[in-house]
Symmetry: C4
Subunit: 256 residues, 4 copies
């Protein structure tokens, strides 16, 4: 296998599709969101491309005893009454800095091949603490795209996320812009400690508003409820521990 | 030397051979198994290829004062009354993610050159504790191969090994499947802490049943006995330590 | 994008320009200095080249909600009554050893393209403690260049900086010398713990003397004042802590 | 600069020269030895090749204020009444596994260019403790070379050095053997903690006996005396510390 190998699984006739990326990352927000689109619109979706690469970990996944080589998958989705989508998802990111560049360029090649000129990178932005209100932060390739996104609730904050956007989500905007794509990154706030279906829903609701389509959320909400149980237990444990905190030897020393 | 250099040491006329891989890994199960085949069938074995690569560590081994460059070796084995084998073994794995891809493709090239279309990757799967019963887990390239393996005792468990199979063993199935190979990974359970000849024997007994050949185990059992002595001492020390355990300062604190 | 992509943003007609490098490094001295030149001579400056590379981190920066792919920028500066400059700055260094070589060669390509034959690499050298007097150390491509620099106050000390000069600043001299460039590295002493505008000013004052141009320092001095406040607080805390130091259990042991 | 750049500094007419490598490593034994040859035979030595490479650290060294790009140097030495030598030395090893292969192949290219067919890799082997008697261990490319080396005092011990020989010294034998070179690695025992001129002398005395030439050792012995002072102080401190050892809190616990 060469450094990169794009397998044409099927073809699809899409009209001006929007490229949507959801690879694993903070809180698995992007991946949960992309997977949810494909689950809800399963009947309208076709797996069109698999991308294999030496930049992925040297690994096979196992499902029902059968192995499959690590890859990224791109599905064509004919959204009812909405714009067509090209949805990128997968189980892994590239393993090196250079790999992120190589893979992102390959993803953009496929996007171009299917006629996409607009893209949305979905992800999470860590807040460092458990949160109740799930804001969605935005970053865009061109200033003109800020206002329409603010109109549907996306927040643009000065110097956030600090340090910019790293990995495929960042490069899709960075390399994409240089290749003529218009795009935005939609980042759901999330604690950063847990898989976060609520943050994924917040991101998807923005995407629905922007692209004018609609999804059911029953399955994602179920996963969110499961996570709520986990969070509840964590909070309980935190409170118990605070109640039990007594001075220790270390606390009684003047200098630690 | 280029990134990869395949030395043709000898030729061999094999009929529909099965490729068997046993490189170092968890519990050295795969390497012990492959080395044991070559030891027991030494008279029927011919070293046919050496693979040198910049992906291996920059190192020579020393035997009786004489150095040899790190490499992987492939032996042709004419099994009496059984199918011919191509056995891959060596002292090292690749040192980078990309190296695993490069080397595995080279191994598959040699397998194809000798007409192999079926492969078995031998290895260990860590349980994290000392074990008495050595189950062998399986993973296959196609669903049809599960039942015949279950019939000879291989276990297929949901979500095991968690995270899939990493390294050459995984890629032989992953890249091999894409190149048209049929294959299976046979993973002997092993603690993960020690070299494990018993686990290697468990794996080999499965391989004997699948490929219908038979091996002697005297030498492997001797190594297993030596390991049993080591394990016995570890267990003794664990018990003594438990008996001696008295409360320490740390145990008397409410919060650690 | 290839490993390296040089974008021609604009052209500029420079006469025998001097190449000045100020990428991030110890105390951000080099970057502060280069940015200050571009800020003070903004009207005389033109962004002429952007260099994108897979050797940079896979990242976009965000300004006012708009993303830009990580790059290095080269500005042409027509210094009033002085020699023309080509000023290199950026937010990142290469991420690998090899990347430093690749990027430095690309920077030298641009320098040659604009007719530069002389270069100055600006940076900081860490002293490990807060300092009051900001010496500037030098290193040069040829012995003949030492005396003129000593005449304007640059210090050449035996075995300093110990271990030579690492990264783009070092390679600009090392690779540049092999390509026929004359050059010097000007390294402002700095604690190494803090962003250091005073050290940047010390370096720039040397550069002014060498290249016979002059800059205003109001904005840089303001940043220096801000840092002085930070340093003052650090010193205060150090003194308070010393006053509070009492013997601890550890101090009372004979052997720690 | 390409990945590798060999600069022809001068030519030399050598007769059947022996290639001798002494790059930095354990106890700097190899480098001390190679540098000592070049120092003692300075008048008979000519710098013939410099090798620059992206595999070296991105760094310049500084001598008397003047920078030079990191490189390896090969000197031609016309030994009085002895065989000609090609001596490789330098300040750095390659920074990656693959780099060791790339550089070693380049070194062998130069060796071939000058007609060398025999090589000696000089280095140290760590014992983990301060030593009084400096044995020299050997490893060779072919069995026939063991006896002549044993005759001049080289020791060949089973399974030493454990794990083989890593880096350029190992690869010179490993890759060299594949290209038809005859060679040996001479490894002086050394603590592994300190630069060790005594070990370097032990290695050189073997080389003198093998290649029938002779060196003065005054300068190396002076460095050895300086190191003896350091070692004396270390031993003194160890004894004082043992004398002062009193039970600590930790020692009084039953379980640590």
């Amino acid at each position: 296998m060469d450094e990169l190998d794009i397998e044409a699984v099927a073809e699809a006739d899409l009209e001006d599709p929007v490229f949507v990326e959801g690879l694993p990352g903070v809180g698995h927000v992007g991946k949960l969101a992309a997977d949810h689109i494909l689950e809800e619109l399963a009947e309208e979706s076709t797996l069109v491309r698999r991308l294999y690469s030496r930049e992925f970990p040297p690994q096979v996944s196992i499902e029902d005893g059968v192995t499959d080589l690590t890859c990224a998958e791109i599905h064509a989705v004919s959204v009812p009454d909405g714009r067509d989508l090209l949805v990128l998802t997968g189980d892994h990111q590239a393993q090196t800095n250079e790999g992120h560049y190589v893979l992102t360029d390959a993803f953009l090649d496929v996007a171009e091949e299917f006629g996409a000129g607009e893209l949305y990178a979905l992800g999470g932005v860590p807040t460092g603490e458990l949160i109740d209100e799930y804001a969605v932060l935005g970053a865009v390739t061109r200033e003109e795209r800020i206002e329409p996104l603010e109109d549907v609730g996306v927040e643009f904050r000065e110097d956030e996320p600090a340090g910019g956007i790293v990995g495929v989500s960042g490069l899709l905007l960075g390399l994409g812009k240089r290749r003529g794509f218009e795009g935005a990154c939609l980042m759901g706030e999330t604690s950063g400690y847990l898989v976060d279906p609520k943050s994924a829903r917040a991101v998807l609701e923005i995407l629905e508003a922007v692209l004018e389509f609609s999804l059911e959320y029953e399955s994602l909400d179920e996963r969110a409820d499961e996570m709520e149980d986990v969070i509840g237990k964590i909070r309980e444990m935190e409170q118990q521990q605070q109640a039990m905190d007594v001075p220790t030897d270390d606390d009684l020393r003047y200098i630690g």
